[in-house]
């Protein structure tokens, strides 16, 4: 038997190591749980890191109120099944102002309901370290971000002034009010995530599997009409298509892809012959060039 670790085992070990470092070094960590496949993997790794003890931190979902209904259902079932401490935070100011992605555009909606909401939640509970499921292969500014990403008291990221990150030795020191965002699966690719889900049998939201769903074609994307808040423009119509999602977010901002892949095996097969990168399905990245970096400077994950 080979003693060498497979690449997935090495990636798994790296993530577990990072979880333990944070738990040992910070006063009040939290894991940002966004319900998607990356969060499912991250949650699975958090459970592994502290087994047989439960993860020594709570989980936070920043709910924009525009997530797919199936996501919310999956979130609540998961929290119940695992008995984890799940905090749900909604930016009530944004709700009161009636912020929504249709009238205000993805930029404003995302800024208020996601970025500002996250800052509110982190401040409210005084978290000094927050885990996120971002990966370096997703986007150019992510490729340059540290695993331990320092944030100032305003939650801002300064890409020009990042702490050097050597070996597996992490500088975990922050002053009062400052915090660290931690990305344990930085070095995973989308394909790694799917392979790991398959090998470890990790539950994911059914929206990742192909099924007939009511979709509308808008701005070159297939948007699923998840509830009555989405109004059709003149000339638009919903039609039932076999579709699935490669990433999940707010339903009006998330494009579906046409697919017949209705099992994990089929998804991995499809991945291997995929011809487009996954973030193409996200409106949020297309708003303007360099948009991710800008959002991150403002405190986005």
């Amino acid at each position: 038997m080979s003693q060498k670790l497979s690449h997935l085992k090495r990636l798994e070990a790296e993530a577990i190591h990072i979880f333990r470092e944070v738990a040992a070094s910070f006063e009040k960590p939290v894991m940002l749980y966004s319900i998607g496949k990356d969060s499912s993997v991250l949650l699975h790794l958090a459970l592994k890191a502290f087994y047989p003890a439960p993860p020594p931190f709570p989980f936070l979902h920043v709910d924009t109120t525009w997530k797919f209904q199936e996501m919310i259902q999956f979130r609540d079932e998961t929290a119940k099944r695992l008995g984890i401490d799940l905090i749900v935070h909604i930016n009530q100011d944004g709700v009161d102002q009636g912020i929504n992605p249709f009238e205000h555009g993805s930029n404003t909606h995302t800024h208020i309901m996601k970025t500002a909401a996250l800052r509110q939640a982190l401040d409210k509970y005084g978290f000094d370290a927050a885990f996120g499921g971002a990966r370096r292969d997703e986007e150019k500014s992510r490729a340059k971000e540290r695993i331990f990403s320092f944030r100032d008291a305003q939650h801002g990221w300064d890409p020009k002034n990042q702490r050097p990150e050597m070996w597996k030795i992490f500088n975990t020191r922050v002053a009062r009010g400052e915090s660290i965002r931690v990305f344990p699966i930085s070095n995973w690719t989308e394909l790694d995530i799917w392979q790991y889900i398959l090998l470890e049998d990790i539950p994911i939201v059914p929206l990742y599997f192909a099924k007939k769903r009511p979709v509308v074609e808008r701005d070159g994307m297939l948007i699923m009409k998840d509830d009555e808040r989405m109004k059709l423009n003149p000339g638009e119509e919903t039609r039932d298509e076999m579709v699935r999602f490669r990433t999940l977010g707010c339903y009006p901002l998330t494009g579906a892809i046409e697919s017949d892949a209705d099992t994990l095996e089929a998804i991995v097969s499809e991945m291997l012959i995929a011809r487009t990168s996954e973030r193409q399905g996200r409106l949020i990245d297309r708003d303007e060039a360099g948009s991710m970096e800008k959002k991150k400077r403002e405190g986005y994950f």
Binding site: H7, L47, K144, R163, N171, L199, V268
Partner: protein, 630 residues
Amino acid sequence: MNTLETPVALKSFLAEQEQKTLLRFLTCGSVDDGKSTLIGRLLYDTKLIYEDQLAALENESRKWGTVGEDIDLALLVDGLEAEREQGITIDVAYRFFSTSRRKFIVADTPGHEQYTRNMATGASTADLAVVLVDARKGILTQTRRHTFIASLLGIRHIIVAINKIDLVNYDRTIFDQINEDFRAMSADMNFASITPIPLSARYGDNVTAPSPNMDWYNGPTLLGHLETVDFEDERLESPFRFPVQYVLRPDLNFRGFAGTLAAGTVKPGDPVVVAKSGKPSTVKRIVTMDGDLDMAVEGQAVTLVLEDEIEVSRGNMLVAPADRPEVADQFAANIVWFSEEPMLPGRQFILRTETDRATVSINDLRYRIDVNSFAHEAAKSLELNEVGYCHLSAQSPIAFDPYADNRATGAFILIDRLTNATVGAGMIVHALRRASNVHWQALDIGKKTKADQKGQTAAVLWFTGLSGSGKSTIANLLEKKLLVEGRHSTILDGDNVRHGLNRDLGFTDEDRVENIRRVGEVSKLMVDAGLITLVSFISPFRAERQLVSDMLEEGEFVEIFVDTPFEECAKRDPKGLYAKALKGEIKNFTGVDSPYEAPEHPDIHLQTSGKSPEELLEILENALRAKGIL
């Protein structure tokens, strides 16, 4: 990569994934040597480019490309070039690709000398370096520098990618010459393997497929070598090391030590010892969520349960009893300096290893290493991106291996105590024997006894402030008062000490640090003798005042900030120094061309404006009485 339409194909694919290993490597070489094109070529040939990215690339190639009708592969990576102008991409970027045999993480590091620290960052986690050499130019200064840094950071395997071989007509003699030059240059660098490959990143010769243009070359392709090079065996065969990260205690019946194996293997039943205490035990279980394991290997994150209830906490290590790490508080290390603020011997930092931490000071900078010529040079400080060989002493012992034996247990970073910035990285060479041989001499009569005999509390009253702020005036008044009250005291005055004890020191930053260190040590002896010690020193740097404070026990150091505005001091100018400094006749004058870092939380704050020395003395006396010193 094949399309997988049948379940059988998928099964064999997944089985393949279970065997696939992970290699982290680094690419380096000057930008013109074709680094971007080579990475682009690897991504392109291993089909890691998606359709939308390829469409964008074709567009950009037509617009910006430098290779005619062909797709310019460099642009795949050069999305970062534009940002370089804004000064962001001086940083490492990580890229990913995989084949059926291995997954690769590429640290793409910038080439220029001023980014040495970024290359060190990329090299710290890499097991192999691809050093690009332009066949037309041969070994350049940058080639030397990068190869040296790769060896300094412990990379054991080198690929010398002799690129643009098409531009020298695939000439074997040129390849042979560069190979020979490289071996001569790196003879002392202790690489386990050096593999030269002639290639053309632009046309793909010997990148992923053997070149039809070089019959004389029988070696591997670049990808072929990356897929097969053996880099893990050494780490598995090294003695067992398990730095404890976290103690898991979910209930009274379970106590497990969570961590990642830094070297070797472990099985239930194996004897282990705790590195710092030498206490022995035996491994009872290797616990994971997937069930207990029969064996764990280097790189694996597990939880160990021991047979005995022994004390082990985070920062300690479980190790092989027959082959233990060093445990010492003094050691020699190579340090790469990361900070704009130069490294000055004498200052204190927080040292962090993978799981341990200690307060440490760099006692001695033995020499600086020129990264271009590898020469050892005498130096008093290390500037940003410089490398030096130093002696360090920690306030508590740490467990470690020489970096050459184990990169995980032989490395550390240095953190600034005030800003929390990561200011340096170190690779331990060996323990310093004097740490174990020079023991403290236990004294029969304690310092408290000596102070009690004099009927007083011994302390250092540290007066800091600008030149001419009134430090000495107030200290002198206080000493007279103390004499009248029958107390025993002494004064150390900055100017006077410089005539004697510190006559060999000047006014550079390095010398100022040493000046303060000596005065701190002398003050400590005075306190040991039971004296109230008044020190009147400009002492402009926070870090140095902290240094003295740390030498003394809690409550023994009283920082008194004599706060007189610069304008006022310059106006008083009792020694005529400000006038000279402002004319540029004195260099490094505090407040003029050298900074004064005011105390953020002084124990006593004397704001002198509008008050007479006698009034200030009264304020000071009251404050000292409140602190129980008078």
